[in-house]
């Protein structure tokens, strides 16, 4: 009896593991879980994997605007633009995090740093309009922060909330960015669906992709 129950639990655990085994390099996964003891306990990586296709992508696709339109809207009224294309928590001082579709030529690539980025010219004037993060180090928690169905109040503490935010970046690295080419990026073009916190005046948005395609 006891044995059967144990077997059932093992079987369930296997299923759960199978569901979240999307990180391509086992090494990266090992490193991530060694650094954060809380990570494995809470199952945030699996939760994000489950949410990604079911809720995150449909939400982002519905909410995102064309990048230049979003930029124009921000200039006119940042709060209205934020409410239309993005989200922020009801209290606190976090900026709006907005969702946009960006297409254009890659005018520069910084792949020396592990926090690699490409610069994309969205309006065709030859100058960069946004920095797109292509990993493996992803700064910030823009994907989590863009979602209106994720709220700090629903987490025990900042550590869990942070871990959940990090899980989106881990998923992004494993599923999407790991496959991107790293060489010869300038002069190719990029099509990105991404999230970015409202940048300080005079700075370009730092966009975290949810989907990205590099075309010749």
């Amino acid at each position: 009896m006891n044995r059967i129950r144990k077997l059932a639990i093992v079987a369930l655990a296997c299923l759960a593991l199978a569901g979240c085994k999307f990180v391509p390099t086992a090494e990266k996964q090992k490193q991530a879980s060694a650094n954060s003891a809380q990570a494995s306990d809470k199952g945030f990586d699996a939760k994000v994997a489950e949410l990604w296709d079911a809720k995150v992508m449909p939400y982002a696709q519905a909410r995102a605007g064309l990048f230049m339109e979003v930029q124009t809207a921000i200039k006119a009224d940042a709060n209205a633009a934020g409410a239309k294309y993005g989200y922020k928590e009801k209290e606190g001082s976090a900026p709006w995090t907005l969702l946009a579709r960006i297409e254009g030529k890659i005018v520069a690539a910084n792949t020396q740093s592990r926090a690699a980025t490409i610069d994309v010219d969205a309006d065709g004037d030859g100058r960069a309009d946004a920095h797109i993060q292509i990993g493996p180090v992803i700064r910030g928690t823009a994907i989590r922060d863009s979602l209106d169905f994720v709220n700090f109040n629903d987490f025990t503490n900042q550590i869990d909330f942070a871990q959940f935010g990090k899980a989106f970046n881990t998923h992004l690295n494993g599923k999407i960015l790991g496959k991107l080419p790293r060489d010869g990026l300038p002069d190719k073009s990029a099509a990105v669906l991404g999230a970015f916190p409202l940048p300080p005046a005079g700075e370009l948005p730092l966009v975290t992709p949810l989907a990205i395609e590099i075309k010749p």
Partner: protein, 313 residues
Amino acid sequence: MMKVTRRIAVAAMFGAMAFTTSVSAQAADLIAIITPSPDNPFFKAEADGAAAKATELGYETLVASHDDDANKQSELIDTAIARGAKAIILDNAGADATVAAVQKAKDAGIPSFLIDREINATGVAAAQIVSNNYQGAQLGAQEFVKLMGEKGTFVELVGKESDTNAGIRSKGYHDVIDSYPDLKMVAQQSANWSQKEAFDKMETILQANPDIKGVISGNDTMAMGAIAALQAAGKKDVIVVGFDGSNDVRDSILAGGIKATVLQPAYYSAQLAVEQAHDAIANKKMPAQEKQLLDCVLINADNAAKLETFALK
């Protein structure tokens, strides 16, 4: 160690200016402000910010320190209840140990507005206004990684274990730093937020690791202890990064000592807590969301001169 500030006379003066004199005929409502020891300027800024806002809004204040002792905190909350406080502003003495004390105040009909540190429960406090320590720690770690040139050996000084902020900052640091395989942590020790303890620990660590290149610290007081030990050992080139945004670290940055810190808006958060308490007392309006994050700002040589008492001018 309880300091009761009676500001009725002052309130009467302001009252005469702002309202009719009849306001001053009544005793003002009381707001209790309880923080860790003001020996750390961060907590002093909180207490000062809260008291100034409360006075401005016409309240009497009861300001006290629990000295990070959960029993003392419980006694102070009992006192606040007994004295009929209308709200409590609290930077608490432990994420788990504080839940019962705040519940006790709630049961007595007194809302608590927490600042700086979280408790491991929701629905007990009226508000938990905390710095976005993860966002701040990532800013500090990114600057640290840049200053280190993405490689070298380093030491991490961690804060007090009972405080969620110690864990979250360490996590924020490591979520960035551990992505760089050429950065190697040779020691990680808690100095319990204390300058003295950080000095002693740093001296010991240096004996075993004389060639470290960097120190990343969970707060500014520990960073001050670390830089003092490093300078005493003649190690002027070690990169030290702190967290809080204190005037001491500002001065060290401007003098070429510590390289960077992360500003937590301590003064503002305390004032925001009092404003929300006032809204609850005067208008029966509670914050839209209990748990509230305030973003942090990176401070380095570029903007340190604008820093004053945990706020950017």
